[in-house]
Point group: C2
Chain length 429, copies 2
């Protein structure tokens, strides 16, 4: 198997995630890329800093030229953040004919065009899926999957911090200050939360989405922006009264050639899919003239979700360099042993039974379930005294085989008219 | 600009959509593909059949060899459906060194491996994004964007017909038969609805997703399958009582090498994102060990959504053939005229004002709003008699400029203490 050397610029949160994913999922990544992808150098500012990942010392360097001048390194992954020196380093890497992957929204939103141009001139690939909405493949989505569409509108919840705060305010009746404090304690908000809370972060991401969807570079300073710090608990209460949820939306739409961009708190109907995007999750709704409404929902930040997007970009480059045509075949790694039989699956079950209304019926059925290790979460008996009544059971998690055996026995009881329905219940946790 | 000739096999619902999209979005598609993509032949069974699209007569042929033997045709788009002769035609096209795009879930689920192998042998690309969940880019998502992940689980609502029926049963309290009838009247369900209603269609799609995510070909006949025809209105009522929604889920999970596949009606918590996927929409939730939870939501069927996926595959092939490296630059087509000023945007507005509790206050503020063409949807005045009270207004759709002028005047009123907050309301229609 060919070996491909890559280098990381930076080893913070996202860099650690990339390192971790390449280690943990090595088998899958080898199979999907056809190559052995190795991190051969990592640039850090302070080699003595404690890291959350365990990196061999010989990979670490503080001299960027060690990377630029190493011809064995084919791909440079920029995960240091900020504009300086990240931008300069990316351009240097491209001039050394290295492909570049970045997670840096600030650089893309402000000087992305220059980087894309440089990549073109140097004949290298430049990928930045991780720069918007972390693990959600929105950039690939627009660039690759929605190419047949005239995109009409994008509406996104693209800042996890503010969404976490608004969720706490809505579901737990917290005020803004308390929710912000909790977000900071959980690591969702920074000590200085201005960039998130006042909508700057969302504006950068909206600028990138606008570029991708409408081919138009809009300076982030020109985008209308309103944060969430002025949202009062009282506004949340009124929103509830009207059947709305308040979300910080980033919106861009093309109205017959007039482009409208804005980031601001918005009341939306509580049954809308975007209204149910909670906690630090992100979601992006796109309207295209062919596809209609398309929404993607997922983790917009965090080491592993963002790392997932970065590593996917790396794999995409590796595939393209090696063999642009073939991308999938049946797995050879042989991890899969067999297909599970239904009776070995577990679930909770809803069971509806029509029985004759006789004394002891409920006890008898419950005993049968109990004898097969099926324990009950709820039982409902409804209906006035008449010949037949409906019994509804909801079980705790149990083996389907136990349910099958119970039902067989229950069916044979003289007072059971019919087991009307059995429906699996998934808590979706 | 290079011209690329493609041919359609079939001109039904999806074929018509492909034709329409290539015509309507020609400018965007030229810009994104770098080529002029032309349909040069269309194979139909009956040339005299009335079509919903207006196709030039000279494109129509009833002889497949007209397409296979035409060396100018580089890409064949199979949108005829069924296994025979679709599969044979695709293999013939590949042997003639033509790339193939298909929307055919039945062929992919049952003999996809053979087609993929043939494409490899012939050195052509074979794309089938449209075969699962119409316009939702789930195949590209798994194949391209989630390559860094060990996929743990996929849970999907991947049949629009059953989801429409279950939505009607849940939201409008219809019984199964009435909802099915309505689905048929609206064209969501076929005259013989068995394939949808009994879960066969979902099983085919689940087989394809399983292949992509786990590299394992599972014969659709081996997948556990339960349809929705036995769901009674009474079950829906009980589900509501327990806080659940019933959805037809297609589930595949990898539990340490044991693969579990099943399609069956399932009760899920009403606040879960999948529970709010209504009508004929589809959604697919993927859990990966790096990305966490990722959900895609959109139109799973229909001429234009499915056509959107087919044409994206065509564009992807065209780009790859021409220039695999460069995929995006600033738009040159110049459709965009300008960026809209905020005062020209329209929205509904929530406005919260603290005022001195004097007679005539509400009338005065309402008059100012009216004078600026801001009409009101709701007004709430709360609080007992005290020096200050809260007024909340929700407006109908209006220009932001009118709101700004109104607020300026309202702010100058002696009895207004403060305009506390203005929040835009979007109905998301």
């Amino acid at each position: 198997m060919d070996k491909i050397n890559i280098a990381l610029l930076g080893l913070g949160n996202v860099g650690g995630g990339v390192f971790e994913i390449l280690k943990t999922n090595i088998e899958e990544i080898q199979e999907r890329s056809g190559c052995d992808i190795q991190i051969s150098k990592i640039l850090v500012r302070n080699p003595n800093k404690k890291r959350c990942v365990d990196v061999p010392e010989e990979l670490i360097t503080t001299n960027p030229d060690d990377i630029f001048n190493d011809e064995s390194i084919k791909i440079v992954v920029e995960v240091m953040g900020g504009i300086d020196p990240a931008k300069e380093y990316m351009i240097k890497a491209m001039k050394k004919k290295k492909h570049v992957v970045t997670a840096n929204k600030l650089v893309i939103a402000t000087t992305g065009a220059e980087l894309i141009r440089t990549a073109k001139e140097e004949g290298v690939r430049f990928c930045y899926e991780a720069s918007v909405a972390g693990g959600i493949p929105i950039i690939n989505g627009i660039n690759e999957s929605l190419t047949a569409n005239k995109i009409e509108e994008i509406i996104g919840i693209i800042n996890g911090t503010t969404n976490y705060i608004l969720t706490k305010m809505y579901l737990d009746n917290m005020d803004f200050g308390t929710a912000l404090k909790e977000a900071q304690d959980k690591g969702y908000a920074e000590a200085d939360p201005t960039s998130d809370v006042e909508g700057f972060d969302a504006v950068y991401k909206l600028s990138i989405l606008t570029y991708l969807a409408f081919g138009k570079l809009v300076n982030p300073d020109l985008v209308y922006r309103e944060g969430i710090s002025k949202i009062d608990a009282m506004d949340i209460e009124y929103a509830k009264e009207f059947g709305y949820v308040i979300k910080l939306l980033a919106i861009v739409k093309d109205d017959n050639g007039v482009l409208e961009l804005r980031v601001h708190p918005t009341m939306i109907p509580e049954r809308h899919p975007l209204a149910n995007v909670n906690d630090s999750f992100n979601a992006i709704l796109i309207k295209g003239n062919a596809v209609g409404e398309l929404m993607m929902y997922g983790r917009g930040a965090g080491d592993l979700p963002t790392g997932s997007a970065v590593v996917a970009d790396v794999i995409s480059i590796v595939r393209n360099v090696n063999d642009p045509i073939f991308k999938l075949s049946e797995s050879k790694s042989g991890n899969l042993k067999r297909i599970r039989k239904m009776e070995e699956t577990t679930s909770e079950y809803y069971i509806r039974i029509t029985v004759k209304d006789e004394p002891g019926v409920l006890g008898r059925i419950s005993s049968i379930l109990g004898a097969h290790n099926v324990s009950l979460l709820s039982v409902i008996q409804k209906g006035k005294r008449q010949e037949y009544v409906t019994l509804v059971f909801v079980t705790h998690k149990t083996l389907e085989g136990n349910i099958n055996k119970s039902i067989e026995e229950i069916n044979s009881l003289s007072f059971v008219d019919k087991v009307e329905n059995i429906i699996r219940v998934e808590k979706m946790e």
